[in-house]
């Protein structure tokens, strides 16, 4: 399989990991896994949650969660046979010859110690260097990873740097001992797209420089395409396919890999038939958290957001974390009263606070929350969850309610026998369907879906999306689809709204959105979405402007994107509020002239 000339840095043959439960039964987590990684290459382990990808990666460090048994014919890293090491020898290997980069840097760092003390810890623990040389080494790595002010960043605490920076700091910690093998466990999954690009870029080049072999665990094929040389596809603890990146992406052997590939590239849905009447109109809404003084909240989040949505249409709300997407959902539902502006349902003006809306008005706007795990009461059965809105809004009871529950289960394609189950006995996809069915029970006019698919695996998420799409067409429900996933939102929605730092920067139909005319922030967002193409990151690196990170927007009146904008006009953007420009139904809030918006500043600049 691999070129014989290269020496193999990591070799795994017939790896089984079995969990022995106290009851005496054996649960096989992974079975019969074999692969090899040549020195200096990056191998990606791809699979959905529960496929065993993290378990395999951790086994290479001789570690198993929940005390499972690791058995293999060969589990070798360099000249180390991990499976033959004793418990007392393993700590001398971990962090020194094999290091690990975890998914969530925020929870992997000790918040009460400085970054420097934690980054050099592996060197000190293994007695590889004294403090002074260790710190010099760390500073060199910080600059290699393009961290701002590498000389002084070490004296900060983990909460004083951004999420993307912290992830790079963790990479520095992993690379500082010059390990033979680096294990990266979903290092960019928790990051925003624009940050992800930077982190991917720097980690990739740092890996190249250090010459380490790497195992990259991820569920995201497009991300993996940028960094990996080989891909191993896993399903339910079994090896599904193993091959070079190009082969897996363009000519996969297994059906499962093909289904993963199709799920990554969402199918464009046709536009809904245009119904002329607006179901929901949001006008100049401001909202925020904290004490309200003189009509303004202490921590303003949303400012001057306006849009409307037609019956049966889908509006995508996109933006990075902290842009106010979920706050917008809460404001429309009335959970967080808007401090100013108006929300109209049809022709009626809704009270800002939920408590003053009528039950009928509440019924017509329903929210589906992101985390189905916490959105379903763990002590209620599916039946209780679904019958409550029926009783509450329609006074339905007994046989009538049961018939409607059956109908809802059919609608969301859930099996009938789950009605007695509680949420802990449902799969992730089923939970989200129950969550959706509960909202549909109210027969709403407006359905707000807040990141409903981001906690789900790609294939399951695609199925849930299909379902929502069909429902809104069949039942004529106006859908507000909140997402950080631009490609999904673009495929799924008729109109798209881009939020940045709580302000609307662009509102456009799907066609206009796909055109060249874009707000500079929209352009940055769209271009940051990785494509299923191995050369994508390299092309981006050539074009990308120098480090663009952090949420700007300190001023109330100026453009929120000013501090990150690569094409800000000096003397104009930093003195005047950006004008609202409208053409062919597309709204862009920017100082640049309409005809300039269609020019990609980065391409022409280079």
């Amino acid at each position: 399989m691999t070129a014989p000339a290269k020496d193999i840095a990591v070799e795994v043959r017939d790896l089984d990991i079995v969990l022995n439960t106290p009851g005496g039964s054996r649960k096989v987590i992974v079975e019969d896994i074999s692969f090899a990684v040549p020195k200096g290459e990056v191998l990606a382990l791809i699979g959905e949650s529960g496929s065993g990808k993290t378990t395999i990666a951790l086994a290479l460090m001789g570690y198993s969660r929940f005390g499972a048994d690791i058995t293999a014919n060969c589990l070798r890293v360099g000249d180390l046979h991990i499976d033959r090491l004793s418990q007392s020898e393993l700590p001398t290997v971990r962090g020194r010859r094999i290091s690990y980069i975890a998914q969530s840097a925020a929870s992997a760092f000790n918040p009460s110690r400085t970054i420097m003390s934690q980054v050099i810890e592996p060197l000190l623990v293994h007695g590889l260097a004294d403090r002074k040389t260790a710190e010099e080494k760390a500073v060199a790595l910080f600059s290699a990873l393009a961290l701002p002010s590498p000389e002084t960043i070490g004296s900060r605490y983990p909460h004083q740097v951004s999420g993307g920076q912290l992830q790079r700091v963790m990479a520095a910690m992993a690379l500082i001992t010059e390990p033979e093998l680096v294990i990266l466990d979903e290092p960019t999954t928790a990051l925003d797209v624009t940050t992800q690009v930077e982190v991917l870029k720097t980690i990739k080049s740092a890996l190249k420089q250090s010459g380490a072999t790497a195992i990259y665990v991820s569920h995201d094929l497009a991300v993996v395409a940028q960094v990996a040389d080989r891909i191993v596809v896993l399903k339910d603890g079994h090896l599904c396919e193993d091959g070079a990146v190009g082969k897996i992406l363009h000519d996969p052997d297994s059906d499962y890999t093909r289904s993963l590939l199709t799920a990554v590239q969402p199918q464009q849905r046709p536009d809904a038939e245009a119904a002329p009447d607006n179901v929901l109109t949001v006008g100049s809404v401001d909202a925020g958290y904290g004490r309200i003084k003189a009509g303004k909240p202490a921590i303003p989040v949303l400012r001057d957001v306006s849009f409307s949505i037609r019956r049966g249409a889908a509006l995508g709300v996109i933006g990075e974390s902290g842009s106010g997407k979920s706050t917008l959902a809460r404001v429309i539902a009335g959970l967080l009263p808007a401090t100013s502006g108006e929300i109209r349902l049809g022709d009626t003006l809704l009270a800002p606070a939920m408590a003053r809306r009528t039950r009928e008005q509440l019924r017509r706007v329903q929210i589906v929350f992101q985390h189905a795990d916490t959105a379903l009461n763990p002590s209620h059965s599916v039946e209780e969850i679904l019958t409550r809105p029926l009783a509450f809004y329609y006074g339905m009871k007994g046989a009538e309610a049961r018939a409607r529950v059956d109908e809802l289960l059919d609608l969301t394609r859930l099996p009938k026998d789950i009605v007695k189950r509680r949420s802990s006995e449902l799969s992730g996809g089923q939970k989200q369907r129950v969550n959706l069915a509960r909202a549909l029970a109210a027969n709403p006019d407006v359905l707000i879906c807040d990141e409903v698919t981001s906690a789900l695996d790609t294939v399951v998420a695609a199925a849930v999306l299909d379902l929502i799409d069909n429902l809104r067409r069949d039942l004529g429900i106006a859908t507000i689809f909140i997402s950080h996933d631009i490609s999904t939102a673009r495929a799924f929605c008729d109109d798209l709204l881009v939020l940045y730092a709580g302000r609307l920067v662009e509102l456009a139909s799907r066609d206009r959105f796909a055109s060249e005319t874009q707000h500079p922030y929209t352009r940055l967002l769209v271009e940051s979405v990785p494509e299923l193409d191995t050369g994508w990151l390299a092309r981006k690196s050539a074009l990308a402007p120098p480090s663009l990170s952090g949420q700007g927007a300190s001023s109330d009146t100026l453009c929120p994107f000013l501090s990150r904008c690569p094409v800000a006009i000096g003397g104009v953007c930093d003195t005047l509020p950006p004008p609202r420009q409208e053409q062919a139904g597309q709204i862009v809030i920017c100082h640049r002239e309409w005809n300039q918006l269609s020019i990609d500043p980065l391409r022409t600049g280079s």
């Binding site: 985390h371 959105a375 009461n377």
Partner: protein, 274 residues
């Protein structure tokens, strides 16, 4: 039902089963005392005081020549039922107020929490002493005092539990639907905190047993000829030098009841899926 009970007992640790044994034992005695006690509570049965055990009087006689076994059974009845009643009352009031405060939030929460803080800051035994001294002892008053003393502690715990739960999305969903405070408290929040609350009620029960025994020992508890376990210890204290069963038996009863209840509570796992 039987199988659930069986699996519940199976899931308990060894010490938990010991605790369950003691608690069940005393609970049965408390319930059936009027039927199984050989004599009535104030009956003088013998001229000998502090007699040792015999076939007629299994635990001997007390300082007035009454049957200790009968008085112990009646005493356990008073102590257990009074403490159980007070514990249930305290938890019901404390939890209801806590749910109301947590769900309403704002100034309601603020006012209720500060009132509870004020009550917590008063030493409960002294407060109980003052109240009993002022109003004279009666069963109703004892029940009320014992319950009142432990409301603030339960309020604190229940409020903390409820605060964690109402931050979860399913409560937001219920709110967005337009549900009222009562539905959210009763149907959404309470079922998810019932297990830690039961454990808390067990602890309160133990505290109340000790409080009542303490009051009775000072002569402020259940009044003669009736007696709870604490007053049994007090009235027979002169028998201590002779090592009379009349004082040892009720002391052991208090110890086994409280230790047993504690063992049982400890064995109930946090989260409660025992």
């Amino acid at each position: 039902m039987t199988s659930r009970l069986y699996s519940f007992v199976r899931a308990l640790s060894a010490s938990g089963r010991v605790g369950l044994g003691f608690v069940t034992f005393w609970l049965l005695i408390a319930i059936f005392a009027p039927i199984i006690a050989p004599y009535s509570i104030g009956e003088f049965v013998d001229r000998t005081v502090f007699s040792g055990w015999s076939n007629a009087y299994w635990l001997g006689t007390d300082f007035l020549g009454r049957d200790v076994l009968s008085r112990l059974m009646w005493g356990a009845r008073y102590t257990v039922l009074l403490a159980l009643g007070a514990a249930i009352l305290a938890v019901t009031i404390g939890t209801s107020l806590a749910l109301f405060a947590a769900i309403r939030g704002g100034w309601i929460d603020e006012v209720l929490s500060r009132i509870m803080d004020t009550l917590i800051s008063m030493p409960s035994k002294i407060l109980a002493l003052v109240l009993v001294a002022a109003f004279g002892s009666s069963l109703t008053l004892l029940l009320a005092i014992a319950a009142f003393t432990y409301v603030p502690g339960n309020f604190r715990i229940a409020r903390a539990l409820a605060m964690n739960l109402i931050a979860l999305d399913f409560v937001q969903v219920a709110r967005a639907r337009g549900e009222g405070t009562a539905y959210i408290a009763w149907r959404e929040v309470l079922p998810n905190m019932i297990h830690p609350l039961l454990a808390d009620m067990g602890l309160r029960f133990v505290f109340i047993v000790l409080l009542l025994s303490g009051l009775s020992f000072l002569g402020l508890g259940v009044q003669p000829p009736y007696a709870d376990l604490g007053s049994l210890v007090r009235e027979n204290v002169s028998g201590l030098t002779e090592g009379a069963l009349a004082i040892i038996a009720p002391a052991i009863a208090i110890a086994t009841l409280t230790v047993g209840a504690n063992l049982l509570i400890d064995a109930l796992k946090p989260g409660g899926k025992a």
